[in-house]
């Protein structure tokens, strides 16, 4: 069998060019293995040959990742490799993302397997865990041999298109993607086992981690409510008849705004909710229950608020994904900000 051709990507420090003072160097390549590449070659033994090393300065890569990745890719391609190994970058903050990015473009554009190794807290993990294989390493170069051994094992498996085991079994950082599997026992039985371990103080493994949500700090209080421009944003899917903007009844991806200037109140039939997430009859009867134009107009007349904004915004919150919600929220906020709205009444269902 012919030896596998392997290209090794690394930064200027491991490539022997220099430290921080040389972090600006542009991509360059050298034939053969250098620096950590000698460990890579040792681990590979007769199974493969490091045919080239591509080096790029940390700052050069970080300053324009797309451009640098493209240049690195051209150099890698010239060696016609079967596999790419990047790093390991351990806990290095610029080097880690560079390794992730290079692996990602190499897989996508050259169609060959690529592997890197990072410490769990390296910023490259969150950026690239979904798009490339990342072997879990120690946080410093002392773990070089172990990291390289695991990376080579994985790279050879990927090249041979062998079925991978769980991330734990493969020494990989999980991609954070959930897949359904059948367990041996019913969930109820596993729950009792888990609880008894927890009570006895024995080590236990939760089958799910609590999701972490981004904390949004609230805006500072409105200083003078009597001068503030107030907008209404609802997630009950309140729309005009015929739903002209086709706001979804669940899992929404769209939002819309509708004019309310000159309206003292919203009347039955003028707007109705489409969300599948709540008992709609009361809002259909009186849309102000969801979008309180009537009360805000009163407050406007009493000069307790400055003015009600001329449009209300609407979407459906029912079963809507966090990603869509975030996208819509950011877009709505941008529009409201541009319209100099001071505060928003967010009405949930």
């Amino acid at each position: 069998m012919e030896k596998l051709r392997i290209v090794h990507f690394m930064n200027q420090f491991f490539g022997g060019i220099g430290g921080e003072e040389m972090a600006h160097v542009s991509p360059q390549s050298k034939k053969d293995a250098i620096g950590p590449g000698t460990v890579l070659q040792e681990v590979l033994g007769k199974q493969g040959q490091v045919v080239g090393t591509v080096i790029c300065g940390d700052n050069y890569f970080a300053e324009d990742m797309e451009k640098a990745a493209h240049e690195v890719l051209r150099l890698i391609e010239s060696y016609q490799p079967d596999l790419l190994v990047a790093g390991p970058a351990f806990n290095a903050g610029r080097y880690g993302p560079a390794c992730g990015k290079v692996c990602h473009v190499v897989q996508e554009q050259l169609g060959i397997p690529a592997v890197t190794g990072l410490y769990e807290e390296n910023p490259g993990v969150d950026l690239f865990r979904r798009s490339t294989y990342i072997v879990k390493t120690a946080n410093s170069a002392q773990g070089m041999r172990e990291a390289m051994t695991n990376m080579v094992k994985l790279a050879l498996k990927l090249h041979a298109r062998e079925q991978l085991g769980t991330p734990e079994e493969e020494g990989l950082i999980s991609r954070g993607v959930k897949k359904n599997r059948l367990a041996e026992h019913l969930a109820s039985e596993r729950a009792v086992d888990l609880l008894l371990k927890k009570i006895k103080g024995e080590p236990y493994r939760s089958e799910m981690r609590l999701p972490r949500f981004e904390k949004v700090p609230p805006a500072p209080p409105v200083e003078e409510l009597s001068k503030a421009l107030i907008a209404i944003v609802v997630e009950g899917g309140l729309v005009p008849p015929e739903n002209p903007d086709r706001i979804e009844s669940a899992r929404a991806t769209r939002y819309a705004k509708y004019p309310i200037s000159g309206k003292d109140t919203l009347t039955q039939g003028e707007f109705a909710p489409v969300s599948g997430g709540f008992e709609k009859a009361f809002v259909a009867q009186n849309p102000n229950r969801l979008c309180p134009v009537d009360v805000l107009r009163e407050l406007e007349r009493e000069k307790r608020i400055g003015k009600l904004y001329d449009y209300f915004y609407t979407t459906t919150g029912f079963a809507t994904s966090l990603a869509s919600a975030k996208q819509m929220g950011e877009a709505i906020a941008k529009e409201l900000k541009a319209a100099h709205v001071d505060a928003v009444l967010l009405v949930s269902t």
Binding site: S174, K178, N180, R181, A187, S188, E207, L210, P211, E279
Partner: protein, 424 residues
């Protein structure tokens, strides 16, 4: 409270001249049963069909699944407050037809599709794909309101289940299971030193067609209360949760056979002491949720003296808030918690699996799978329950790719499934 549960094993159902059980075969007089159920004028007509495990058949518009049981000795009747009098249940002797269910189907506007395959990968996920099922297919009377449609099919399902089980009244059961959990003062006998475990059982009762019934009434006003596990076995809780996505709700069969309750019963006196079931509702407002969590934790800690609780929920979204509050309040008073959850992690498995993650004490979860992940269903020879799927344009008989969500109890949140997730 002591219940003898006489288990009558049923291997097949057939339509016949008289309703009886002979040699583990349940014979059903179709006409007699149909006449009984059509006495309710809200049903315009009613078809009955039989489906069996491993048949290439698909039941669509599934609303609920019920196990036939009857009371043969002792107070009360099954499904108290629904078709039985409002009397105490859980004591004496009941019979169960094991291997049979009654499946309610029906087309009610706004009710999401729920389908049950008797073969293929979906059948592996749910207990009632391994039973012989008598399927009720109603046509509702013209102009019948949604809430009346729901109530009519509910009553028909329960009556049918009791009618079938009645055939076992004079039968010698194949075996008798004894469920005996004494009052609290006597509970410690023989179990000193074992951890005391309670079960917090969240129900979601919040609107018409979104309501389980406890002793015949919806649980909208229910404060956390104690049920004896035997009461569940006699049908004290019945599902009327039709409008909720099928995977999120708990069907009557899983209330009758609640697997957390069974696991705790099974291990009682062996490696734990089962101190009771706290049933509570997931109320729509935060202040009600807060009140319920405080009271549930108090019942667990100060009344039952629990060292730990298993908490299960019904539904998603705001139900997660009850789950977090219950977890937080229990852990605060030193009661350890395990939470059983379905993970709606999105079609690609990357979305956050809970809508509320406010308790950092929630560190022990059992996952019942990602209900948003797709499952590939092979084509079938026969579709029962309707001609078109609700909300899915594909023909119902063909191969389908649908979210697991559409298969009732596939990610059962009371833990009646082996489905789970792994992170890759």
């Amino acid at each position: 409270m002591k219940l003898e549960l006489g288990v009558c094993l049923i291997k097949d159902i057939r339509f016949a001249d008289t309703t009886r059980i002979s040699d583990h075969v349940l014979c059903v007089n179709k006409e007699e049963l149909t006449t009984l159920l059509l006495a309710d004028r809200r049903l315009g007509s009613l078809d009955l069909e039989i489906v069996r495990p491993n048949e290439r058949e698909r039941i669509i518009h599934v609303l609920d699944v019920i196990e036939p049981r009857i009371k043969v000795e002792g107070p009360g009747a099954v499904f108290p407050g629904m078709i039985g009098k409002r009397e105490r249940v859980g004591e004496g002797r009941s019979h169960v037809l094991k291997g049979v269910t009654v499946v309610e189907t029906g087309q009610i506007p706004g009710v999401p599709e729920a389908l049950l395959d008797m073969t293929g990968p979906a059948a592996e996920l749910v207990p009632f794909a391994r039973t012989c099922n008598l399927v009720l297919i109603p046509q509702f009377a013209d102009g019948l309101e949604r809430v009346e449609c729901a109530n009519a099919i509910k009553m028909a399902g329960l009556k049918a289940a009791a009618y079938l089980a009645e055939a076992s009244r004079d039968l010698q059961p194949d075996h008798v299971e004894i469920y005996d959990l004494p009052p609290l003062p006597d509970l410690d006998e023989g179990v000193k030193g074992l951890p005391r475990i309670a079960y917090i059982y969240q129900l979601q009762s919040q609107a018409d067609l979104c309501e389980p019934f406890v002793y015949g009434d919806n649980a909208r006003k229910l404060l956390p209360t104690l049920l004896h596990p035997n009461e569940l076995m006699d049908g004290a809780i019945v599902s009327g949760n039709y409008e909720m996505p099928p995977c999120f709700k708990n069907v009557t069969y899983t209330h009758q056979n609640n697997p957390v309750m069974h696991a705790l019963y099974h291990r009682h006196k062996r490696d734990l002491c089962f101190v009771g079931v706290i049933v509570m509702n997931e109320h729509p407002t935060l202040h009600e949720k807060e009140r319920s969590a405080v009271m549930a934790a108090k019942l667990a800690k100060d009344i039952l003296g629990a060292d730990g609780v298993i908490i299960t929920k019904e539904g998603g979204g705001h139900a997660d808030t009850d789950l977090m509050l219950n977890c937080q309040r229990c852990e605060e008073v030193g009661v350890k918690t395990v939470l059983v959850v379905d993970e709606p992690a999105g079609p690609d498995g990357t979305a956050p699996p809970l809508s509320d993650a406010s308790s950092d004490r929630a560190d022990a979860f059992v996952s019942t799978g990602n209900s948003n992940e797709s499952i590939e269903l092979p084509s079938v020879d026969r579709v029962i329950g309707g001609k078109a799927l609700a909300g899915v344009s594909d023909p119902p008989q063909g191969a389908l790719s649908v979210p697991v969500m559409m298969i009732p109890s596939a990610t059962s949140q009371v833990g009646f499934t082996r489905l789970t997730t792994v992170e890759v």
